[in-house]
């Protein structure tokens, strides 16, 4: 296990280095000079030079890459070209919206998918199974931002149960914060719940065809008892992997949903930064999202190897 973990850790570090290089180089080729963008077209050359010096734009590419990555390792993401405030602070403020939203959506998706998947698997071929599978087929096809608009129309505009957008901040209390995130979380969770319910069902059906389930049935357990006592635990392994992977999709997906609900999260930050050509913010947010995806994949791999010893020996 240790050897496997070290190997995966090395692969993680290499992936992060290459990802940071790719992001840095892509942003490097962006046309335009941040200093002249900040000071406007009428700025004097010596003022521009002074600002370039201050922002480190006069350094070589290698020096800038190294200072960017070493800064990030110490929590320093640089200074926003537009707002002149530390990017790390801006990102941290926005993460307090995006991260709880992704976690809330993940919890909802799991709470919907587990019962639906188990119900469908336990009634394979019956009308209940067909209905659940039909619903998941539809759930996968619905764009989450469209579903979000429909939720706003029904629950905010017509029924007035929730506000149509905005976020009061966590200072207003946990309930107010969670209430503001409820519709966005439902919109985000729906397609993921549909995928997860399908994986849960097919994983359970695979396990239910295994010999040990047949043995359990032969010992006198009913189909339902065999499902709950033996099949479910074994079927969870692939399901947990998908849940891990979904988290990163939810974090990235929240970027679009935040637009629908005008939530002050990472998504709005990144779109504002694109329109203001505040590339250092874009660079940092993208790196953070990629870091999250790579880290989650790493943890899922380790967790998978932990519960399934065959994987450790295979590598």
């Amino acid at each position: 296990m240790l050897r496997y973990s070290l190997k995966r850790l090395l692969s993680l570090v290499i992936s992060l280095i290459i990802a940071s290089l790719v992001i840095f180089l892509v942003i490097e080729v962006a046309p335009g000079d941040p200093a002249s963008f900040m000071l406007g077209i009428n700025a004097q050359e010596d003022t521009l030079n002074a600002l370039r010096e201050e922002l480190g734009l006069n350094q070589s590419k290698l020096e800038r890459y190294l200072s960017w990555t070493s800064g990030m390792l110490q929590g320093d993401f640089g200074t926003s070209y537009t707002y002149r405030t530390p990017v790390a602070q801006m990102v941290a403020d926005r993460l307090w919206v995006s991260l709880p939203l992704a976690l809330y959506a993940l919890a909802l998706s799991t709470m919907i998918a587990f019962p639906a998947g188990i119900y469908a698997a336990s009634r394979r071929g019956a009308p209940g199974d067909v209905a659940v599978m039909g619903a998941t087929q539809l759930g996968v096809a619905i764009p989450n931002f469209w579903f979000a608009m429909m939720l706003v129309l029904i629950f905010a505009i017509n029924l007035r149960w929730f506000s149509a957008g905005g976020f009061p901040g966590w200072d207003e209390g946990l309930f107010a914060g969670l209430k503001a995130l409820t519709l966005p979380a439902i919109a985000l969770a729906l397609p993921q719940a549909a995928i997860l319910a399908r994986v849960m069902r097919s994983s359970l059906l695979d396990i239910l065809n295994e010999d040990f389930i047949r043995t359990a049935r032969a010992k006198g357990l009913s189909r339902r008892q065999a499902l709950w006592r033996h099949a479910l635990r074994n079927a969870l392994i692939p399901v947990l992997t998908i849940i891990g992977l979904q988290f990163s999709f939810l974090l990235a997906g929240s970027i679009i949903i935040e637009q629908v609900f005008y939530l002050p999260g990472l998504g709005r930050l990144v779109f504002q930064s694109i329109s203001q050509r505040d590339l250092i913010v874009v660079e940092s947010v993208v790196m953070l999202l990629v870091f999250a995806v790579i880290m989650v994949n790493f943890i899922v791999d380790l967790a998978y190897a932990f519960v399934d010893p065959r994987l450790r020996s295979r590598t």
């Binding site: 692969s11 996968v140 096809a141 469209w146 608009m149 129309l153 990235a252 970027i255 679009i256 990629v290």
Partner: protein, 272 residues
């Protein structure tokens, strides 16, 4: 039941492809023509799906929007297949080699950039547009096809008919092309329908946030973005493009399920 999926899915997909193709020659109204006196009409005999806030005919916009969605998704899937399948074949042919390792780790890396993140990066540098949306979705498709091809090709390399081809003196690339590829084609066809539907959803999402197709090119995602502030008094502006996206994606997914059942011999055996 199984062939019903294929028929319904195929019919829905064909409907939207036909709408896209017909839009090149004919649409009920000019999609760029504004008619303010006729704005925000609900569906009626003149404007079958109503009009938007500029009085443009929504039916015509849906037809031309189908063209944008299908074109973006089709080219993006083409990029994914064109690059991903050869990479997957090469990785499988040299399993365990440095090439295999580099290809698979490269794929892992691309997977770490969800298509939305790739689109954000590209847009930040080159500006928004349909072409950049195609590139973003296309890049994301590459590892999907590479992994699928490699996974399906690996067990084939252990089979007798491949050994026979090797004994006959065929090289790895010729075997990949002549024997491996035809045997993974069924799997690829099913994946194409899945990636195609994901491409339609991704294009809609990117256009919705302004990173995809730009005006005056109609796109379902941007129609939804325009509808957002008017959804309370003109819900048809959101319901119709949303319905078009859902029906297209549903059609493609059903077609994918139907094709998988039809093309996978194991499922055929189970059914008989």
């Amino acid at each position: 039941m199984k062939s019903r999926n294929l028929i319904i899915g195929g019919a829905l997909s064909a409907l939207f492809v036909a709408a896209a193709l017909i839009s090149f020659a004919w649409t009920p109204f000019d999609v760029t023509q504004m008619n303010i006196p006729a704005k925000l009409q609900t569906p009626n005999s003149t404007h079958w799906l109503g009009t938007d806030h500029f009085g443009r005919d929504i039916f015509s916009m849906i037809m031309v929007g189908a063209r944008t969605s299908i074109a973006v998704a089709l080219v993006a899937v083409g990029i994914g297949m064109g690059v991903g399948v050869p990479l997957g074949l090469a990785a499988a042919a040299r399993q365990g080699s440095l090439l295999d390792e580099v290809i698979m780790r490269g794929n892992d890396l691309v997977f770490a950039f969800p298509s939305l993140v790739i689109a954000i990066l590209i847009t930040a540098v080159f500006g928004p547009g349909a072409v950049n949306a195609i590139i973003a979705i296309g890049i994301f498709n590459i590892p999907v096809f590479a992994r699928l091809t490699r996974g399906a090709a690996l067990p084939l390399w252990q089979r007798e008919f491949i050994m026979a081809a090797r004994v006959a003196g065929k090289g790895a690339s010729r075997i990949s092309l002549e024997h491996i590829l035809p045997n993974v084609t069924n799997l690829l066809i099913v994946q194409v329908t899945i990636q195609f539907s994901l491409g339609i959803l991704a294009e809609a999402g990117l256009s919705y946030v302004g990173l995809g197709a730009q005006p005056p090119l109609p796109s379902w995602g941007r129609m939804l973005a325009d509808a957002q502030t008017m959804v309370s008094f003109a819900p048809h502006l959101a319901l119709i493009p949303g319905g078009a996206i859902i029906l297209t994606v549903l059609g493609l997914n059903l077609m994918g399920d139907g094709l998988r059942d039809l093309l996978d011999p194991r499922i055929r055996v189970e059914r008989t």
